[in-house]
């Protein structure tokens, strides 16, 4: 199934300035791999040691996922990579 991925502005140097792209994937891990196949280098920025990099969170249809790369994508959704944030 096809998802809409919003490319973080600091990584649009790898996408030729594209703000959002359509990607087919069943998991976030597969989605990152598909992104990297199309925009080489983006996986190295978003992931490390098989996980999302510390400090990067993934929002799926506006909800932060605690599962990171393991998150399954059951339905077409909108995906954002965002900085982790703290509350008090």
């Amino acid at each position: 199934m096809i998802h809409e991925v919003w490319i973080p502005p600091v990584h649009r140097d790898l996408t030729g300035g594209l703000e959002r792209v359509q990607v087919e994937a069943a998991t976030v891990s597969a989605l990152v791999a598909a992104l990297d196949a199309r925009f080489p280098g983006i996986a190295a920025r978003l992931t490390r040691d098989g996980k999302l990099r510390p400090g990067i969170a993934i929002a799926i249809d506006g909800v932060l996922s605690p599962r990171g790369l393991r998150q399954r994508l059951h339905a077409p959704c909108e995906i954002h990579f965002v900085p982790a944030m703290a509350g008090g």
Partner: protein
């Protein structure tokens, strides 16, 4: 609110808090009340320099003092590489956390812990600190974020490189991170604007100001298990931090949270716990208690960031916003980790914008490492954006609330950092504010003005676990692991009572430690009534299912034959109340639930404030204050109102008085509450509240976090009120009398 219109029996009522009697009679036990046999007392030696290399530490004279049992320094901390750990809501580099607890080769701020002593009593420990000889090589320091970004600025952490969401810089820097949110065409948006306002703002470093200082007692047992009693917002997070910092298995550490005298984000990180543990081990397994003084708290624990913010916004004559741009520089303190990410996400969160760009910079400076403070980063950011919105309204000749309503985000609109809003109550909040008697009332008199400002917070869910067991008399013991700061024992017990259909008074809540309940995230991020509420909803339904089965067993009928309604079990004319059934249980009923809900919804508020400014002295008197907020379903309205009032009070202090004051050498000058001026009851009027209840669809009872939103609007609302009273636009916090007088001198012909 009308109780007759409520679908609930317990939710929305205002019962007494379960911990109330212990607290008003002085029986409640706080961290400083801990007394154990053979207990020693610990104290911390702190750096007198803002930035220096530690050449040597000689503790021999201190150790020779009668009654001194041990001294520890950074060399006693296990060596930790650059390990990144999840801190619950964000991430931290454990090496930096370790170095912040006890400095190794360099001190990075005035107040940085250098060594600690355990002695027979506090006085001996204090005397011993004076006998520790530390030789320093003083280094150049930098306190200001923008100065720290310039070429040639003193570098605090030579290995630091700028991170841009995974893209790493290649040169030494004080900029730990750069965040960017960008959407649409900024240039086109500003080209379409008829009015553009661009301003720069500064906010000072401020402290959470919890009344109870940090305190921790540690006992390192002979079997290498560690027991810690402390004042914390999250016992499990203390356990995790100590395990990582001391390189111990998590299960070897038991944390007992004592009652807490305020936290506001400042009691999430550990400061004393690992140090007390090391001292306990070094003194032959004796318990060691460490309690900070107010000076320790202000100099040695994390305040929130000072900041520089530039905001530019454009609008058409009809009031529609066409573009918005912001740059935020947040001072992280000595190690990376300011709340600039939250600032970037919240600065334009209230407005529907198609053309927008936000850049944020996390910058290390020679100040204490910043920590979370109620809506971290939000107050700084929205002070800037809401001041600009007020100026736009004035230039456009529009009512400031009408302008906000016209551009307000609604369900389906996209936030600046990407996600689309679910059901939110911002429009309802603005409409309630516009209709309120305060906003409608005329304000007359010389040097009087009214200001308004909006506020926003993301809120959070986190992980929660609870256990419930049924007593023979029908009461239900509720075991929870979330520190009760703002009345959460009551708000969680009420949700369980509602689920079970029994009276609130029949729920007996207890907050317990890490060995006695499943995992709970910190009480922070406005999550506890939401997250633990989800957990008790789950546990309540499980418990009802168990009780229904027991009723079926008692009547010897299939479980499907038993109906449950409002705490009463029935089948074919037979009837048992929850209490009656509890008295007939042959086998006890105990159930647990653990949840990690994601349906937390963000919150919005709108504050209205009237002020009178003494133009001779610059003193601001608040004449009237009203806080309006979408609170989802108000479980216990009194505690929700208290959150709104407390947040507004803290925001007033941040806005008008509070700041860290340093000398030219980078030494903090105001380390007492006489000089660090927080508002008292004499400085504040009654803060009226309006609870707008737009239920959150992501919670079975519609709960929405409420604790953080109300600290966000006060600074901007007061700045706008001061402008309307005097004609002086204030762009720097705090808006102290001296700054107001200086600004008035600039604008007065």
């Amino acid at each position: 609110m009308s109780r007759t219109s409520s679908p609930y029996k317990v939710i929305g009522s205002r019962p007494l808090r379960p911990d109330g009697i212990d607290k008003v009679t002085g029986r409640a036990l706080y961290g400083a009340d801990v007394k154990l046999p053979g207990m020693l007392h610990g104290k911390v030696l702190r750096s007198p320099h803002a930035h220096a290399r530690i050449l040597s530490i000689d503790a021999s004279a201190a150790l020779a003092l009668s009654g001194v049992r041990a001294v520890v320094t950074g060399d006693d901390m296990p060596s930790i590489g650059d390990k990144i750990a999840d801190s619950g809501e964000s991430v931290v580099n454990l090496r930096y956390v370790s170095n912040n607890l006890l400095a190794r080769d360099r001190v990075l701020y005035y107040g940085h812990a250098v060594a600690a002593v355990a002695a027979d009593n506090v006085h001996i420990a204090e005397d011993a600190l004076r006998l520790i000889k530390v030789e320093y090589e003083v280094l150049p320091h930098v306190l200001d974020g923008r100065a720290a970004m310039r070429a040639g600025a003193p570098i605090l952490l030579p290995e630091l490189r700028t991170d841009e969401l995974g893209k790493q810089g290649d040169a030494p820097t004080n900029v730990a991170a750069h965040i960017r949110h960008q959407r649409g065409d900024l240039a086109q948006g500003f080209a379409e604007a008829d009015v553009i306002v661009e301003r720069t703002f500064h906010t000072a470093t401020v402290h959470q100001g919890y009344i109870e200082p940090q305190t921790a007692t540690a006992l390192w047992n002979e079997d290498d298990t560690l027991h810690i009693w402390c004042s914390t917002q999250g016992a499990f997070y203390v356990q995790e931090q100590v395990a990582e910092l001391l390189q111990m298995p998590t299960s070897h550490i038991m944390v007992t949270p004592m009652e807490i005298g305020g936290g506001f984000g400042g009691k999430i990180n550990v400061y004393l716990e690992p140090v007390a543990a090391l001292l306990s081990r070094k003194t032959g397994r004796r318990p060691v208690k460490m309690t900070m003084t107010r000076a320790d708290v202000l100099a040695g624990t994390g305040p929130t960031s000072g900041s520089y913010i530039r905001v530019k916004m454009g609008a058409r004559h009809d009031g529609a916003f066409t573009a918005a741009e912001a740059e935020l520089v947040y001072e992280a303190g000595a190690y990376p980790g300011s709340p600039v990410g939250s600032g970037c996400g919240s600065i334009f969160a209230a407005y529907k914008l198609e053309n927008v760009q936000v850049d944020g910079y996390d910058v290390v400076v020679n100040r204490p490492k910043s920590a979370a403070y109620r809506a971290p980063g939000g107050t700084n950011a929205i002070f800037a954006s809401e001041s600009v919105v007020d100026e736009l309204a004035e230039k456009l000749g529009l009512d400031p609330l009408a302008l906000r309503l016209q551009n307000a985000v609604r369900e389906g609109d996209r936030r600046v950092d990407g996600p689309v809003y679910n059901r939110i109550g911002y429009v309802e909040t603005l409409e309630a504010a516009r209709a309120h008697a305060h906003y409608q009332a005329p304000l007359t008199g010389k040097h009087r003005g009214r200001g308004v400002a909006a506020g926003f917070w993301f809120n959070w869910g986190g992980k929660s676990s609870v256990t419930a067991s049924v007593n023979a008399d029908g009461a239900v013991n509720l075991i929870e692991g979330s520190t009760d700061i703002g009345g959460s024992r009551a708000s969680i017990a009420m949700q369980l009572a509602e689920t079970l259909g029994i009276p609130y008074e029949d729920i007996r809540p207890q907050v317990v430690g890490t060995a006695s309940v499943g995992y709970n995230d910190v009480t922070g991020g406005s999550r506890t009534t939401f997250g633990a509420g989800w957990a008790v909803y789950e546990v309540g339904n499980k418990l009802l299912a168990e009780m229904r089965q027991r009723a079926a067993d008692y009547w010897d009928v299939p479980v499907e034959a038993v109906a449950v309604d409002n705490g009463v079990f029935t089948q074919n004319g037979d009837r048992l109340t929850f209490r009656e059934l509890a008295g007939k249980l042959d086998v006890p009923v105990t159930v647990s639930a653990s949840v990690h809900p994601q349906g937390y919804g963000p919150g919005f508020g709108l504050h209205i404030v009237d002020v009178e400014v003494d133009v001779e002295t610059g003193k601001v008197t608040i004449l009237r204050y009203t806080a309006v907020q979408d609170v989802g379903t108000a479980i216990h309205p009194s505690y929700v109102e208290g959150q709104l009032q407390g947040g507004a009070a803290q925001g007033v202090g941040w806005a008008l008085n509070e700041e860290y004051v340093y000398d030219d050498e980078g030494r903090l000058l105001n380390t007492s509450l006489l000089d660090y001026r927080m508002p008292t009851t004499l400085d504040l009027p009654m803060i009226d509240t309006v609870l707008v209840e737009v239920p959150n669809p992501g919670h079975p009872y519609g709960v929405r976090g409420v604790g953080e939103v109300p600290i966000v609007p006060p600074a901007a609302a007061l700045a706008n009120a001061i402008y309307h009273a005097t004609g002086a636009r204030m762009h720097e916090l705090p808006m102290s009398p001296a700054r107001i007088v200086a600004k008035l001198a600039e604008v007065t012909p």
